[in-house]
Each structure stands twice: as structure tokens, then as C-alpha cells.
Symmetry: C2
Subunit: 332 residues, 2 copies
């Protein structure tokens, strides 16, 4: 791609602010607009909002139509909500405005299994608009789906795939430590779980991508979430967790085909977790064991959203996922 992609940042939460900074840092991308409904952000210069010392000369607008005026934008990075009911209209408007879109919405990373009707609707909107929307992220979107799938390129046969991701939340932001239940009682944790306000989103999407791509039929899907409880007192910059209180969560998902368990995913995010890192096992011929250290979720999600822009602009119209595009790489 020889031309510069002109980008609107849609959503200026922590991830959106970081993607905006990355867009500005890259030679092949140019930030030409920014949207956030938060009245504390709209109306200000985007440089102020994303933490630059100097203004960048682009105002944050509360609505897309204002941001589009005179922007000549090619594409948008969408970083608002994880869930279809909340992002559906936003994505529709972005596509119908003539923009290619990269979204970090977890439910878009591979919606064909969990939300096939809504996936088909977005796909149809994109094709009618002649534009491309790609759902991406580090997890879902890479570590538990696209990367293991790419590793199967050297497989003669596959018996079982498992991925274990462990995040030492002590090294992460305060909101992340809160999100995983730090400081709650185990009972409070379970209550929040039951009301659907806790837990990592995306294991179902990852299992969907792996099953569909490898031609397996998902016969049964099981998942679990449980609190990880502190044995002794833990103090971070943001939380004090006494022994017996929650220091994080442990989540699993398992996909079965007619032969039995085929994919098993484990996600642990907890304060003072040991073995921060990722382990991918592909049992078969050959049996592979792949260990990753350093896949920091904040840095990596921002990076993959920005890095996916060029491949998205180049792709055919429709809803794409990370298994459909040519391998995404860092871009200038």
C-alpha cells in the first residue's frame, strides 16, 4: 500500500486513546478525526484527550457526521463496546459513511458461531456499502484463535488444541484489577458473575473460529468462571486484598466435536499470578508446544487494531476476521 490511510478514531476510552496515539506515530496512517460521546471529551482537541502536551488540531466530536466533514477519511478504528446490541448501529453508520473499519469489539472477532444472524447482517451492510469491517484484538483475535490456527499450518494431523493464558494483574491498570474482581468476597464475585457483569469476553468466539476453520462441528460448549482467592494479604497501587478475598478470576471454555474434547481454553487473570504468559499446545503430528512471554494485553490490543487497518482497507468488502486476511504484521 503506497498511500496514507486517513483514520477516524471512534471511541476515546483507554484503548481508543492509545490507538489514536499509535495512528499519529505511524508513517502510513494519518489521524483525521475523533469521536466520543463523553461530554468531558467532545469539543476538546484530541491531543489533550489522548495525553499529548500539544494540540494536534483535530477536535473530538460527539457524533460521527460532524467528524466526517472535510476529513476525507478512509477508515475508522472502533473501540467502544464488546457487545452487538451496543455497537451494531455504530458499525452500520461507519460502514454506510464509506469507511473501512477495524473494531476491537470482542463479539466481532468471530461472530459466525455465537451470533450468526447479527454477523450476516453486518456482513451484508458492509458488502452493500462496498466496505470492509474486521474484528480483531489480542484475545480474542490472536492468541487463542488466529495464532494457534496459523501454527496448524505445520500440522499433518491434529488431535487436540489447548491454550492457557495467565495474566499477572499486579502489572496492569487499576480498572483491569477491578474488572477481575480484586478485593471482592467470593460471594460478591459469584453474584457479579451471575448478573453478567464479570468475566473475560471472547472465549466462545475463539472456539468458534478454530472449529469452523478446521472443519470441525461444535457438538457441545462448556464454560466456567471462578474466583481466585488470596492465601495471604496482597497490596497493589490500587487494591488491598486480605487473605480469603478475591485476587482475580479463572475462566475456562471447552469445545467438543463428535469425537470428544477438541479445544480447551484457560484464561487466568489475577494479582500476583505466577507464570505470566501464554502456552499453546497442539497435540497431533507433530505435537507442538509454543510458549509466549511478553504479550501484554494493553499494548498488544492497541497494536493489532492499528496494524490491521491496512490489510482491512486492501481486503474485499464484507465482515472479515483474523483468519480471512493475509497475515497481519506491523505496518510503518
Amino acid at each position: 500500500m503506497d498511500r496514507i490511510v486517513r483514520v477516524i478514531q471512534f471511541g476515546l476510552g483507554p484503548i481508543g486513546c492509545a490507538t489514536a496515539r499509535q495512528v499519529i506515530a505511524r508513517n502510513s496512517l494519518e489521524l483525521v478525526g475523533a469521536v466520543d460521546i463523553d461530554p468531558k471529551k467532545s469539543g476538546r482537541d484530541v491531543g489533550e484527550v489522548i495525553g499529548f502536551s500539544d494540540p494536534v488540531g483535530i477536535p473530538v466530536f460527539a457524533g460521527l457526521s460532524d467528524a466526517l466533514v472535510g476529513s476525507n477519511a478512509d477508515a475508522a478504528i472502533h473501540t467502544t463496546s464488546s457487545f452487538f446490541p451496543l455497537f451494531r448501529d455504530q458499525i452500520r453508520d461507519l460502514l454506510n459513511s464509506g469507511l473501512d473499519v477495524v473494531s476491537t469489539a470482542e463479539e466481532l472477532s468471530y461472530p459466525w458461531l455465537a451470533n450468526p444472524g447479527q454477523a450476516a447482517e453486518i456482513d451484508a451492510i458492509a458488502k452493500t456499502a462496498g466496505k470492509t469491517i474486521t474484528g480483531t484484538g489480542v484475545n480474542p483475535g490472536f492468541l487463542m484463535d488466529a495464532l494457534p490456527l496459523f501454527l496448524t499450518s505445520i500440522s499433518q494431523s491434529i488431535d487436540r488444541i489447548s491454550v492457557r493464558r495467565v495474566i499477572n494483574a499486579s502489572l496492569r491498570r487499576g480498572p483491569f484489577q477491578a474488572k477481575i474482581g480484586s478485593g471482592l468476597t467470593p460471594a460478591e464475585f459469584m453474584q457479579r458473575m451471575e448478573s453478567g457483569r464479570m468475566g473475560h469476553v471472547g472465549l466462545r468466539e475463539s472456539i468458534g473460529m478454530v472449529f469452523d476453520t478446521l472443519g470441525r462441528r461444535l457438538e457441545r460448549y462448556e464454560s466456567s468462571v471462578e474466583p481466585v482467592v488470596a492465601d495471604s494479604k496482597i497490596e497493589t497501587d490500587h487494591f488491598t486484598v486480605e487473605a480469603g478475598f478475591v485476587r482475580g478470576l479463572l475462566q475456562t471454555a471447552t469445545g467438543y466435536d463428535e469425537r470428544g474434547e477438541f479445544v480447551h481454553l484457560t484464561f487466568e487473570a489475577s494479582l500476583e499470578a505466577e507464570d505470566d504468559g501464554d502456552l499453546i499446545r497442539i497435540e497431533g503430528s507433530p505435537s507442538l508446544e509454543v510458549t509466549l512471554k511478553g504479550t501484554n494485553g494493553d499494548i498488544a490490543t492497541v497494536a493489532i487494531a492499528v496494524n490491521t487497518l491496512v490489510r482491512t482497507v486492501e481486503a474485499d468488502p464484507g465482515l472479515m476476521t483474523m483468519r480471512d486476511l493475509p497475515i497481519v504484521t506491523w505496518v510503518e
Copy 2:
């Protein structure tokens, strides 16, 4: 892809025999022809040649035109030589016969840097024929190029990439043990090196793919090969190596851009090598360290050639490499 791809196996050395067995094992592929110039193979049933107890009803022909008759073939797997002067006419004939082609020729894995004129010629032949040729393999083609590139999808910035592959040749075939110089004196090793008959082919291609894809300019390229010498006596099923004699080779390649060293590759294949496995480091933000165990070169090269067929048939015409196709995965 819903239809079955009909495949001709071109070349029945150890790798070609194994890819033919894999094609037969896969539901989405069908072996419809086989070619080998060796008079000990041509004329026989391919089942006999590839080590099946029963014939498969397909004769091995010495030439492509005979194998094509009545085969209705869609594609070919090409596993003969590593080098352009030796495979150029074979690839041309396969494409001009209306076949999509996957080749394990190392020089085709990313020829745009080392052999740009010959790459352009093959690309033009493929486009004129309306067919696709993909160069692939585990190394080059995956471990030192396409896989590190895919890992950069989660990079915000990259300072340096290094890959170290260590193969314990004690676990490999006799011809492999011979190829890396097992049992030679160091002087004999260097003599063979100088006559160009020793050393792993493909480090240059891997460096080319990484530099071009990441938009770096290769200012300088350095490579080295040296013997690994036994400290004490080693015995394998195929070789006895006394202390002071060669037990394998250590090869490096380094690519520099205007800022300095950017990619460093190390390839060691030796009898009784410790740490059999691969280590990919991407220094930058984040700094990633990825360790792979189990990437057996014989199994993996065969697998990736077979797994790349469907993506190749689906791709636009021309010369493709592993960074151009949607991620290759195991296929049914």
C-alpha cells in the same frame, strides 16, 4: 472451499513421497497423478513408490504431459530442487499446463530480494496462465519469516528480530545427518562449503521477506557457516563421529538497515544438539519471546506444503509467498 482439489505430485523424493501420502489422507484433496524422472520410480504404481502396501491405481510418469492425460488435475505439489536454474522450467510447465502450484523450493519462498528478475518472470508466467504459485516450507517459509511477521501484528514498535533454530540431528534421517557434514574433518567441511555443496538454503529468503514486509531497506547482508565439532565420540544409527570430527553445522545470517542490525538468524543442526527447538525474539514494544518445541522439519515441511494447497487454489494469479495468503491452516 467446498470442492475437492485434484493434485499431481511432482517429484517423489522423501518429501514428495510424504506429501503424496498426506494428499491421499485428506478429505479435501485427491491424488490424481505423480511424476518422477527416476527410472526406478516411473512406470510403477505410486502406492508402491510411497510405501503403501496396496497399489493406489495411479502410475508414476517420467514426464508431466503423460501424468496430465485424463487426470483433470487442479494443482500440483512441486518437491524437486531448491534452486531456480533447476526448477524454473518445471514450474513454467506446471503453470502453463493450467495447474496451481505449491512448491517447497527454498529459493521460491521469498525470491523478491535474492532473485528479483527470476521472481518477476515466474510471476508473469503465472499471471499469463491465470494460475497461482506459492513457495512454502517450514524454514524458509514459516519459522524464520512468516511466523515472526505474524507475531509483529501485536507490536507497537520493533527494534530487532532474532530467530534461533536448533535441530538435534540425532533424531533425523541418515541423509539429513550426512547433509550437515556428520563425520567429516573440519577441513573437508570447509572444502565442501567452498564448493557450495553444504549449508542450509533459505536464510537469505527469510531476511528478504521480513525486511520487505516491514518496510525496511536491507543495507547489508552477512552470513556465515561453520562446522560444529564433536568433543567426544558420537554414534548414531548412520554415523560414528570421533572427537575432533564434525557433528553438524552452525549457520548465521544478519540483515542490517541504515540504523544497524535488524534481523539475526541462527540455524544449528548437529548430532546430539541440546535445546532442540526454536526461539523467536521480537525486541520492541512489547518485547516478545516465543519458544517452539516440536517443529520437526520433515513432518512440518510436508504438512505446510499440503496445507497451503487450498489457499493457493483460492488466491489471485501470480507468485505468492506465505506473507501474501490468508493464514494457512490445517485443512481436512
